[in-house]
Symmetry: C2
Subunit: 306 residues, 2 copies
Amino acid sequence: MNTANNSTLNVGVFGLGSMGFGMAKSALAAGFTVYGFDPNQDAVQRFVGLEGKHASLDDIAAELDVVVVVVVNAAQTESVLAGNNGIVDRMKPGSTIVACATVPPEFAKQMEALCEARGIHYLDAPISGGSVKAASGQLTIMASGTPQAFDCARPVLDALAEKVFELGNAAGPGSAMKVVNQLLAGVHIAAAAEALTFGISQGIEASDCVDVISQCAGTSWMFENRGPHIAQGDYTPHSSVEIFVKDLGIVSDIARQSRFAAPIAATALQQFIAASGMGLGGEDDSAVAKVYAAQANLTLPEGDDK
Amino acid sequence: MNTANNSTLNVGVFGLGSMGFGMAKSALAAGFTVYGFDPNQDAVQRFVGLEGKHASLDDIAAELDVVVVVVVNAAQTESVLAGNNGIVDRMKPGSTIVACATVPPEFAKQMEALCEARGIHYLDAPISGGSVKAASGQLTIMASGTPQAFDCARPVLDALAEKVFELGNAAGPGSAMKVVNQLLAGVHIAAAAEALTFGISQGIEASDCVDVISQCAGTSWMFENRGPHIAQGDYTPHSSVEIFVKDLGIVSDIARQSRFAAPIAATALQQFIAASGMGLGGEDDSAVAKVYAAQANLTLPEGDDK
């Protein structure tokens, strides 16, 4: 990658959580001048310690060329863009918002209209790949937006992603594709938990199950990624149970409005709701296995530290 | 592979369907003398045309060293082994049955006992990988059985499989692992159908969905394998809807007996039952997408020949 010219581009990253922090690091590594923003000042200070920048929005908003918004949901996205201290009114015309949260497609269209009314480009750009790929600039981005939005965001997209899918010339299709991905991701995590605990009920060790099924037709990206968390009893949150209460909730809301019956997604959602109801909302999403274990009186593998 | 000594081993293959025919071919390619058996005489004649052999059971059963049983279910397995024309009573002591159908672990234990009472070894050896890998000798086999059963079956297993998992020294664990795999496989096929049709309801072309999701965290082996069937409108049966009515039925039966609540598998089973109820039982299992399409008044992609 030619990073020589990137230093002239000012990039803002809003949200320095597990995904956003890695993406801000990837942008730094590509040579951009990167400003990080997060309500958590510890995260901001960690980023500044890596040669990242921070400034008050009043001072810097008008200087930002591309703003990447990597927050949890639609409400936080709207707050960053158009809240009391919102950035859109302060950004310069022709600058670009890259919105990465998983949101309903209709919300993405509303945000695009709000930005365009102020001369700001909006790229509907949800991400997939997890925190490790975020930090190595190897995400997959499912993007849609105007050609101008793509043109302005391009150098930043190239720094963050291994693969950028261009799904249409307006906001909406990017978020729709991400919602379809989250339907599958959520179902596959819950199915992995169901299968591993069912295996335990039949006398199969979870670690054997992970080893064998990973090489069989029953495998999935999520089975291979989350299965070891269950087999090792490690529920350190990489992505939490609450994320799938939210994302499968978005799937269910959209499906209901569209009169589309999605019984498997609806069932998986109930399992994540049950996990949250058990007090596990902040644990890794693989903790949905504890719902199955509780309902079958099974003992899950324990981690080394227990 | 050293095939020089394999020609002295007589192998019988019972069941020349999409999996068994390919496995019989793989055994031929490894140099064994292979006898094929199937109620469908066309399949037998096709096999004989490939240098395979066929003979009456009365003439050949006592000469077979290893018998591979690749039929649809437990009832057919029992019929081959112990029915009116059953082989176990005619095989020589020390010969070995390799049983590949997906069956309940308890059934596998019963068949092992039946064989052992007659001095025949029994390997509980369900398979995964599909018809293409069956024909290329690259299956995954989930096996359990006595060391003697493994020893006798070893040259044949090596010819059929890329990977043989040894899961225990008696029948049962092999079938249990296969049932866990089928839980995931069935859920993933139905989830792929749910996701692709949900995407269509949101304006996403199924082929775009297959291309994008295959590179995202929502992917699965089944999504990548069956998704293109739906995107191309090709429901030529590689594995039929009825197979998953059966296999998720086995999962549900075992789970209920074990007092294990498996709500996602139970929901996926209902979708395959609905597909069969619509008259699609003989179509490819990806035809479960037609249940979703019918319930949402959607049009699925059509194949080239329609």
